[in-house]
Amino acid sequence: MTLKNSSKEKSVGVVGMGSFGTAIANILAEKSKVIAYVRRAEVMDEINQHHSVDGISIHKDIIGTQDPEMLCKACDTIFFMIPSSAFQEVIRLFSPYLYPYHLVIHGTKGLCLNLPKGKTLSDIGKISRENILTMSEVILKETVVVRVGCLAGPNLAKELYQGQPAATVVASKYNEVILEGQRLLRTDKFQVYGNSDIVGVELSGVLKNIIAIAGGALAGLGLGENAKGLLISRGMVELIYLGNALGGSLKSFIGLAGIGDLVATCNSTLSRNFTVGYRLAQGESLEQITNTMEEVAEGINTVKLMKTFVEGKGMRAPITENLYKVLFEDLKIEEALQYLMKYPFSVDVDFL
């Protein structure tokens, strides 16, 4: 059923052509006409004239545009694939052209701060759940679209681009969004699962980035598989505790978007978050790393946010807390590791 749809049918929109956005646009283009929104004019020209993004060739039917209004008019379903730091801004740009008939699915594994006007994180000190927005919550807050979904799972962009087999989760409160996501994305090499706990799935994708940085750090220290196994399992426990505190359900965390994604990113040099940890362990500073990375590693911001949240809530999250110290307070990775080894985790599994 990978036939091209008739010309009457509307196009599918992709907002943001980073590596993940490009990979998804390519998959979508197998079945539908795709219109891609990009911020920079030269990228648009590259897409339209050379059918490529940053030199990597893409499906020839993908049309590039810089006009949100045109994209919203031409598409009923729109995929937002932008980093969390720009998410709010881009959503606001699109908001005037979005209507209740639109379906919006995003693929951003990050969080947004939602503070009272004119305040910053350092003014407030403690934050609670209301101050943290997942991307679907940003969409609901800024637009009239209610049929919102998210994409999450072990989806390393480079592998998707190469057409290797993979699977993803489309999560939404609305069955029709899940079905639409499956209809548009599913191919012989791409399996699509559904989940109704959208917040849980979003959080899985967000929180696993913390563990991915730690995983990179272990690899950077040259540690072996025992340590990795330990980290993944302890990371999972921490992820579940944080995720529950933020309103996600256990089921989602042990699914494809949780464990599935965690295992993939903790093992892969293709992951940006993993790379951050790896280079840290090699002795680079955070500043050096972020300055030379092409794309945002969401995990850095997530660590900062979650550390503040944990403090406000009076919870403990040893991996996140120590990672924060490593990233922002010059704690040596070896010392953090030592601290974690001494930490009294007495019970193996206590969340089931």
């Binding site: 209507y99 209740p100 379906l103 209610v146 609305y174 069955n175």
Partner: protein, 565 residues
Amino acid sequence: MSENYIKHKYDPILPKKDEWPVVKLSKSRKDFIKRVAEASKRSVLQITGDNMALLKEELETTLYREKLRIKQNPWDVDPDDEKDFWRKVKSSLVQISADINTTKTQKKKKYLEILDDITMRYSEEIASNFIHSHYKVTRRIVTFGFARLLNAARVKGFKSVFSNQYTLQDKIQVVGETDQIRELASKGTIVMVPTHFSNLDSILIGWVISVLGLPPFIYGAGLNLFNIGIFAYFMNALGAYKVDRRKKNLLYLETLKTYSSEAIQFGVHSLFFPGGTRSRSGIIEKKLKLGLLSTAVEAQRANYQKGQDDVSGKIFIVPVTINYHFVLEAPSLIQEHLSLTGQERYYKESDEFSTSYKISKFLVKFFTKGSDISVSIGKAMDVLGNYVDTDGNSMDRNGRVINTRDYFISNGKVTVDMQREEEYTYRLGNRIVEEFHIINRIFSSHLVAFTAFQMIKKENIKMDLFNLLRLPEEDIVIVYDDFKKECQKVLDKILELESEGKVQAAPHLKGDLDAIISHGLANVGMYHAKRPLVKNEGGNIETQDLSLLYYYHNRLDGYDLEKLF
């Protein structure tokens, strides 16, 4: 929103009664009941997925539960032929399964016939019986009769009985978006959703609707109320249809929902108490019953499916709060609440609203001594919870006009998606709760009850609620000066919230604090035998009934005011 109480006579928006949707409905009652029965049948069949075994099972379950109900929980209002009807259903069911010679299609036809009979019976039973002359009489009794009472009590002298100096509107103030609801009622269909604290509410709302010049609304009233003669008359007159909470079978629930949905599609304005029953705890409803609410969403989609895309097919949700100093049933409600939620084993006391005599006594008290009630009409919303303007256009947060129809569209067409509508109903429920808190009007009595209870709670910080409520009342004294200080804190916060548009404060909260406190003390639960709060001889504050105090205190739950303590 205007600060002044609205006190003027509105002209009816539809002067001729024949134009009233509810009259049109009652004229075509027979057809309408048939239509409801048919539609209910269809939806039961849809749910059972055209699977005969499942349908048979539903029929048998219904029969079983009905027989049990008749035996265990019979009421005065139940029709006499009930037993016969279900006996017949039983024998038909037995006959079908016993008969081995009938083919599958024949069997199916027979099951459908039974289903037909039951939905028809239910729909007949639910249907309202609006009689215009009764409505007129009732309205006259309520306004005219009460006005007499009021004037007799307040204006001294021989001729006072015939004085018109005071009217019901002096006692019951209607505030808020009155013009908008009138405007919209003449353009589309209104679904009014009030908070529910007292059995008096339905009569009160009925009166408010008529004062606003709106044609009567229909609403679902618990069948138990029809057990009481005086209520039955009022309810019928006000266009009530009957909701029997004893019947929980699929067939009945589907018929009930269909009735409501079809009535809304017919263009009849409706009234739901979305909390389901009266708030037992005194808290403004937070969890709504979504069953009836879903019929508003469904009716809206059905109208769009029929191509009624203009404002005439649009449904407007109007939240309303009713604000009391005093709720007659408070003692029994709070006890029920506590025995449900807590470990306490209360004796179930008699319902104070159970007899006509008690109600009349209360009404006399109410009108002679005075206890102000205000009714806040909220801003109208579409079925997704977006505000609408006076022309009925939905608007997003930035004031851009949007089309509600768009929410029901997929691939360019209006489609039926039950799961989607379930989510929409849930959203609508949340929006209504939000609006309740915004239009809730805080009285002096709520202020004093809240402050006093929080102070007592803070004094005994280690106790859980149930231990706290068991404290001997005579041991509790709050020093007036401390009380005043705390009241000031709470009041300041309330006024701050009001300035942010998060709640409303009654005008009597804008004066001297001592006066506000004594107004509050005088009014809080004023007719209860045991008063929630009194001032003792030393000028300090005492309580005679902690549970009642808790009840009245709960009115200010949900504003984070307890953080002040």
